[in-house]
Structure formats: C-alpha cells, structure tokens
C-alpha cells in the first residue's frame, strides 16, 4: 500500500521536496565533517546547528499545517506540544549527566540538589532509558492533545474560541513550568547536557547525526502527512474544514476525526521538539510562550496554508529572515514580522507555495488553451 502510495500518490511538489530535504540532510553534514575548514563548500558547525533548528521548526510547521490547513483547527498552542516533547528529551539528557553535574549527585539533577530535594520525583523515573524517553516524547504531547481535543471537540468548541483556549492552554503551561516546585528546573529549564545515547552532544559527529535525523524527520513527517491528506481520512478532514455542520449531518463523527488528527499532529510536534533540544542545548519555559506558537502559525501562513510543502518553505524562510534581521537590524525585526502577518493575510492568503501553484496552473491552462485556439 505504501509502495502504491509512493508511486501514485506523491505529487511532484512533495516528491521534489522529499528529495531536496534528504539531499540537504546528507550533503550538509558531509560537507561539515569531510571538507577542511576554509574550503569554499565547507559548512561551519554553527550553520549546521542553525539549519538543524530550522528543520525541527519545519516539522512543527508541518504538524500545524495538518490541523490548520486541512482541518481548520487554528491551534495557537502547538508550541506547547513541541516544548513538551523537548522537555521529555531534556529529562533524558539531564539523567545522562549523572555525577558530572556541579554538585556531583549521581541521581538528582543539579537544580534538584540546589532546591534541597532528597529524591527523584516519581515522574522522573524511567527517563534514564532512552527508549522510555522516546516513548514519552510522543506520548506526553499526544496524551495532552487527546484529552484536550476530546473535551474541546466533543463540546463543539470551534473557530476563534478554540484558538483562544489553546492559547490559554500554552499560557497555563508556561506559568506552571516557571514554578520551581513543578520539578522541571523552573525558570532556568534543563541545560548543561553532556551525552546522548553515549555520544557527546557537542561533538561534530553527534551534531551531524542530529542534523541528519532532523531532516529525516521532516521527510518522514512530510510523507506521513501527505499520506493522511491524500487518504480518505484526509478527504473527510477537508470536508470538516470547509463545512463542518454538513459533514456531521452526512454522518461522520466530526469530533473523533478532529481528535485523531489533533493528536497525531501533537505527536509530530513533540518529536520535533525532542530533536530541537539536543541541538540547541537548552529547554526552558519560554518555549511555551504564546508568542512562539503564533509565530509558528505565520510560518505556515507565509508558506501557504493547506500546502504541506509550503509549511516547510515558510518555516525555513521566516526563520532565515529572523536570523538575518536579528543579526543585522535587530530593532526592525518585529516590524518585519508584524508586517509579514498583516501583508500575508491581506495580499497573499494562499502563501508563497499556494500562489505559485495557482500561477503555474493558470499558465498551464493558458498553454493548453492556446494550441486549441490555434487549431
């Protein structure tokens, strides 16, 4: 079935993007590791990490596009799922520090020793196993999304109401994770990581591997989401987006569909967060800030809502712009970002990719029409 999908179901845009992402995932680490410094094609390590970060953002954008672009759920709290995945990975990395922390406690992370905690809280148990941490990376955001979605969609909270309470959700989590007695490092979050599955997180090889994995996740995410979108499930989702009541009256259980797609999307976001943390080297409550989640929405809007490739393009383009602006013209960045929000919604409602495909389709139609007219 998957083979059938790969041959027939992939449209050209998705296929090309898959190839490009995978090529980048192999070539950039190769150039970083194999070519000597100073070589014209050598990619410095800081750029490698930066692009790795973009890749995880692109995955987050994909997850958001799945629910917003195809199911009409504008989540202003997807950053929360991303951060939860990040925290799950961060907890594993904290446990890997072992007795190399400042206080040298083999079990307790430094911040717990500092707060005079005597033993590990129950929810930290098991995070010394990588497998368990990986399960939690998916499970924690998935479970939150499932419970939240179950309640919200069943009682038909839709549209802007849903957007506002997703924002309240991430805001409540932000406040909660700031508290020291939650046991997640409070204000400072989790940092000072040493090892990941036995390899030093700082080493060139680990960074290259993490970068490759991030690109792989983008590719897999793109495959999975486009498979969902192309399937019968995807058709129902689009129907819900365009006419929710009608879909319900036809007999589909709208709440169930929404809950499922919301949960899948949250899991994908959690995976992205898990790859984000070892590359950036820190996770703190700031990741829960409502502003972060809204920024992710604008990535999707810029790239093109409802085009999966667009989510990736938008995430990379906006973040590249952010990196450039905050370096060159820091005081202008918020003007640029704010302007982007306004201009894209007013003049580019389909985003870059959506507008491009509309334009090429029109040209193709004109070209097809021209010979017909000549005959």
């Amino acid at each position: 079935m998957i083979g059938h999908f790969l041959v027939k179901g992939l449209d050209r845009g998705v296929a090309i993007t898959l190839l490009v992402v995978l090529a980048i995932g192999v070539l950039i680490p190769a150039s970083n590791l194999l070519l000597p410094e100073g070589h014209a094609l050598h990619v410095p390590t800081y750029l490698l990490t930066l692009f790795g970060k973009y890749a995880t953002y692109a995955t987050l954008a994909l997850a958001l596009d799945l629910v917003w672009g195809y199911c009409g759920i504008l989540s202003l709290g997807h950053g929360a799922f991303f951060a939860l995945g990040g925290y799950a990975m961060g907890m594993y990395l904290m446990r890997q520090i072992g007795s190399r922390g400042v206080y040298g406690n083999p079990i307790l992370p430094d911040f717990m020793v500092f707060l005079n905690w005597k033993e590990l809280p129950w929810y930290w148990h098991g995070f010394d196993h990588f497998g368990f941490a990986l399960v939690m990376v998916v499970l924690a955001p998935g479970l939150l999304a499932f419970v939240f979605g179950w309640f919200a969609f069943r009682s038909r909270v839709t549209g802007v109401y849903l957007s506002i309470i997703t924002q309240a959700l991430t805001y409540a989590l932000l406040l909660a994770f700031f508290r020291n007695d939650m046991g997640f490092g409070g204000n400072n979050g989790l940092t000072d990581f040493k090892d990941i599955v036995g390899y030093n997180v700082q080493s060139a090889g680990t960074r290259a591997t993490l970068f490759f994995l991030s690109c792989l996740l983008v590719a897999v995410g793109l495959l999975v989401t486009s498979a969902i979108v192309k399937s019968k499930l995807g058709k129902v989702l689009i129907a819900i987006r365009d006419a929710e009541s009608r879909t319900r009256f036809i007999g589909y259980r709208v709440a169930t569909f929404k809950t499922v797609v919301f949960t899948v999307s949250a899991m994908l976001a959690g995976l992205a967060g898990a790859l984000y943390v070892p590359q950036v080297g820190i996770i703190n409550p700031g990741e829960f800030a409502p502003a972060n989640s809204i920024e992710a929405v604008i990535w999707v809007a810029v790239g093109g809502r409802g085009t999966l490739v667009g989510a990736i393009v938008g995430a990379v383009a906006v973040n590249w712009g952010k990196t450039w602006f905050t370096g060159a013209l820091p005081e202008l960045w918020l003007f640029a970002l704010g302007g982007l929000f306004v201009l894209v919604t007013l003049f580019l409602p389909k985003g870059i990719v959506g507008t491009w495909s509309a334009w090429t389709a029109k040209r193709r139609a004109a070209r097809d029409a021209a010979p017909a007219a000549a005959e």
């Binding site: 919200a152 009682s155 309470i165 409540a172 909660a176 918020l334 003007f335 007013l346």
Partner: protein
C-alpha cells in the same frame, strides 16, 4: 475578691489622676511649670531629677521641649537671675514660653546630668509622649507600651487613661495597661482575666500572640480566659480576612473589567478578534506618560489634574489608532476571523516595536496625583486609594458604555449593524462608518483603561501583552456579545483568583483559574450569559 481588686485598681487610678490633675488638668500657662523650672536652676542633681518628674507629670505643652533640651545638653540656666533657656542653633529661647530672647544673660551654663537624671529623663520622655497633646503621638506611645510591656509605665498609663479624651486612644491605652498586667506574674488572677478581656478589644494578630505567650505558672483560669479571647479574635480575624480577600478580588476584577471592556465591544459585539487590544491599553498608558511629562515641564501646578486631562486624550489617541486599523486592515477581513486574529497580532507587534523605538524599552514612570496616594482603612480592611479609584472608575466606564449603547442614536446604529448588517444597510445606516466608529469606541475605551492601569502597572512596551489573554478569558467566560456578562465574568474571576491565592499561591492560583475556564468553556461554549436567538447562528 474580684470586686475588691477592681475597687483597688479604680482607687489607684483615681489617686494617680488626682496627683496628676493639678498639673495636667490646669490651664497651660507659664505659671504651672515655674516651680520645676526654678529647681532646674539650682544646679543640684536631686533637684533636676525632681524637676523632670514634675515636668513629665504636668503635661504642659513646653514640657516635652524642655526635657528634650536637657537630654541634648541644650538647656542652660543663669545662676544669678534663675532664668532657664534653651540654646538653639542661632538663637536662645525662653524655656517656659518658647519666645526668643534678644539679649541672653551673659553667665549661662548648661544643666548637668548624671545617671540618675538620665533614668528620670527616659521615664519622662515615655510619659510625656503618653500625655502629648498630639493624638498621633499618644497613640504611638500606647502601642509602644503594648509592645514593651514595661511594668514601670503602669502609673503613668493609668494617669493617661484617666485624662484621655479620645475614646480610641483611651482604648489603646487600656489595652496597653492590660498587656502589662497580663504578663506580670505578680498581678492577681482576677486582674489578669479582666486584662485578657480588654486585650480582646484590640483584636489583631499581635493581641493573639500576646494572649498565647503567658508567663510560666499562670493560673488555669487566666490561661483559659486568654485562650478564649485569642480564639474569639482569630474567628473575627478570619472574617475580616475573607472580607479583605473579597475586596482585593473586586479590585483585581475591576482591573480585568477595565482591560476587557473594550474587548467586549470589538470581540463581543462586533466579533472581531483584536489581538492588538492590549496595545491600545498600552497606548493609553503612554499617553498618560506624555501628558504628565508636558505638565511637569510647563505647568507643574496642574499635576493633580494630569489623569483627568489624559483621559480624553487617551481615548482619542487609541480610538484614532483603532479607526486607522479598522479602515486599513480589518475591513478587508470581515467574515474571516482567523485571518483577523493573525493580522491584528502582526499589528500588535508593530505597535509594540514602535513604542519601544520612540520611548525606549525601559519602564516609564507615571506619577500618582495626590488624591490617589495613601490608603483607605475600615476596621481591619485596607486598600490603597489608587485601587479604590480604579474600582470606581471601572464601574463608571461600564455604566457609561451601557448608556452609550442603549440610549444614544449612535449606540442604536451600532447594535443594529452588529445584529443584522444587511437589514441595517437597507434602513439607510452607513454600515462601514458605523463599523469604524464601533471599533474606534472599543479601542478608545481600551485607551482610557490604559490611563487607569498606568497607576498600578509598569508602563512598558509589554504592558498590553500581560492583559490580552486575561481579557479574552473574561469576555469568553462572561459570554460574547453581552456587556453584563463581561462585568460578572471579570468580578468573578478576580474574586476567585484572590481566594485561591492564599491556598495555592499566586501562580498556581492563576493556572487553576485558566484550567477552570478551559473546562467551563467545554460545558458552556458560549459563556456564562449566552446570547439566545438568531444572533447565535451567524
């Protein structure tokens, strides 16, 4: 036995009062203290000590100054003429009258002190403040005795109680006396039981801790009486603290109401998700800052009027920005709420950064006019005047807004357009104009909220951000499209928040409120006061 003790105590009070009366009760002429003044001029330690005691008991208005002068070594006398003077920095004044002396006698020498005189001085200072003509000082002195519980002050206290005219200060003095008696193991049990009852009148936490810290070996009766008094105070205090929480809750609720009420118009009535609403509040706050800067520079006398002047200006500034936003951006996005949300979020970023570029990223100081400083105390309740005015202000803005919407032609048109746009247009209402006007009104109200919030919050570019989520919660909780819902929602959330704080802490309390709202929305997706009828469907 108790009868006898009470009689004795009364007798003692009477006696001391009788001794004190000739000095204290008489007229405050220089004649009364001429005897102790004469003693001061004899240059003998024994006479000086006696003179100080007499001065202290006299309650004469000059007594405190004279005793203070002895303590500072500034009281001087002329051995020949027996004149007693106080040496000031530049001049010499007569000790008895306080009048300046143009040509002081030549042979002045200071009144000398030794340890015995110093002891007399300390006692005199204590009792003089208990007898001071200034009621505030008397009150402070009574509280000081309550804290020190020095048995030596007992006679002076009793004299002061007898003489005191102000009922509240007399109570304070009696409580101080009771505190001394309660903690004095020599006092009779009856006197101490009575003292416990008197201390109950004070009714605060300090009284409780005093009642709970009886000396070892006190009789069971005394202990029981003290414990009963402490319990009664605690019950009373718990009631007061609930009242205080409710008051703080109403204060927080009125802040929420101010922040949300403009949103109740733009989101609740028009259905526009204005994420830049917080920035309208911020613009109002910065308008206040600018107005105060101008007043400080050009007309400092008008400072108390600065908020009054800032109100209309803030309304106009924020309202104008609102109309501009509506005309340039939002009107293209009617019927696309999610896009409106994103576009206005973008606008909020631009406004924040503009303010940061103009005024800098730091907090700006906005002063409070004099009528807003200080606090209002009723019983054990205390609230600052600033907060109190905000409660009043929030309610008047609310009433004003209701009147505008319900009683003016413009309000009628606004309601008509939001209820049925097509029909309103058919009736000849210029709907685009009304849209801009309504949006401007909502933003203008946010602006005047900013004037009030500048008094209790930091005026910084991030001011609005901290209110936006709370404001949306209030409107959604109260029910969209219903101003009364916003009022009830804001006050409920404020009070609930303040009642949760003592148990859960400020942050956890806030989280609990957010979770509560999220769950509440599941149950009643349209809020507390849902609109009924056709308007719901659109």
């Amino acid at each position: 036995m108790p009868f006898l003790a009470r009689r004795l105590a009364r007798l003692a009070v009477l006696l001391v009062a009788l001794i004190a009366l000739p000095f204290a009760g008489g007229s405050a002429s220089a004649q009364d203290i001429s005897a102790p003044l004469a003693k001061l001029a004899t240059d003998s330690y024994a006479d000086t000590g006696a003179a100080i005691a007499e001065l202290a008991a006299s309650g004469h208005p000059r007594a405190a100054a004279i005793v203070q002068a002895i303590q500072d070594g500034k009281l001087e006398f002329d051995a020949a003429s027996h004149a007693v003077v106080i040496r000031g920095a530049a001049s010499v004044v007569d000790a008895a009258t306080g009048a300046a002396i143009a040509t002081p006698p030549a042979g002045l020498s200071p009144v000398r002190v030794n340890n015995r005189v110093r002891t007399a001085l300390a006692a005199a200072v204590g009792s003089l403040t208990l007898m001071s003509p200034d009621p505030v000082k008397r009150r402070e002195a009574a509280d000081a005795v309550f804290k020190s519980r020095d048995a030596a002050t007992l006679p002076i206290l009793e004299a002061a109680i007898a003489k005191e005219g102000d009922a509240r200060i007399r109570l304070a003095l009696q409580v101080a006396r009771a505190a001394v008696i309660l903690t004095k193991p020599e006092a009779s049990d009856d006197a101490r039981v009575e003292a416990a009852a008197t201390i109950k009148e004070r009714g605060d936490q300090e009284a409780v801790s005093l009642l709970r810290s009886l000396p070892e070996g006190s009789a069971k009766r005394v202990k029981d009486a003290a414990e009963a008094a402490a319990k009664s105070i605690e019950t009373n205090l718990a009631l007061w603290s609930s009242a205080q929480n409710a008051l703080y809750g109403i204060s927080l609720g009125s802040v929420l109401l101010l922040a949300a009420i403009g949103l109740a118009i733009t989101f609740g009535v028009m259905g526009i998700i204005n994420m830049a609403h917080g920035e309208m509040v911020m613009i109002g706050a910065y308008t206040t800052f600018v107005v105060q800067e101008v007043i400080r520079a050009h007309a400092p006398g008008l400072f108390d009027w600065s908020l009054t002047i800032a109100l209309p200006l803030a309304f106009l500034t924020s309202g104008a920005v609102g109309v501009l936003i509506e005309r340039t951006v939002i009107r293209w996005l009617y019927g696309r709420p999610l896009e409106t949300l994103l576009a206005t979020w973008g606008i909020s970023l631009i406004l924040q950064q503009s303010v940061r570029s103009i005024f800098g990223a730091n907090n700006r100081e906005v002063g409070a006019p004099s009528f807003m400083s200080g606090s209002l105390d009723i019983g054990h309740l205390s609230i600052t005047w600033g907060r109190m005015w905000i409660v009043v202000f929030a309610l008047s803005v609310f009433v004003g807004l209701i009147l505008i919407l319900k009683k003016t032609p413009a309000g009628l048109q606004m309601r008509a357009v939001t209820q049925n746009r097509a029909m309103a247009a058919a009736m000849g209402i210029r709907t685009p104009f009304v849209d801009a006007l309504t949006f401007g009104l909502g933003c203008g109200i946010a602006g005047i909220a900013g004037v009030a919030l500048s008094q209790i919050d930091n005026v910084s570019p991030n001011l609005g951000q901290s209110y936006i989520i709370d404001s949306f919660m209030v409107v959604v909780f109260g029910g969209v499209g219903n101003l009364w819902g916003t009022l009830v929602g804001a006050l409920t959330l404020g009070v609930v928040n303040k009642f949760l704080e003592p148990f859960a802490g400020a942050v956890l309390g806030k989280i609990l409120v957010l979770i509560f709202i999220i769950l509440f929305i599941q149950k009643r997706p349209r809020g507390l006061f849902a609109l009924k009828g056709r308007a719901v469907e659109s």
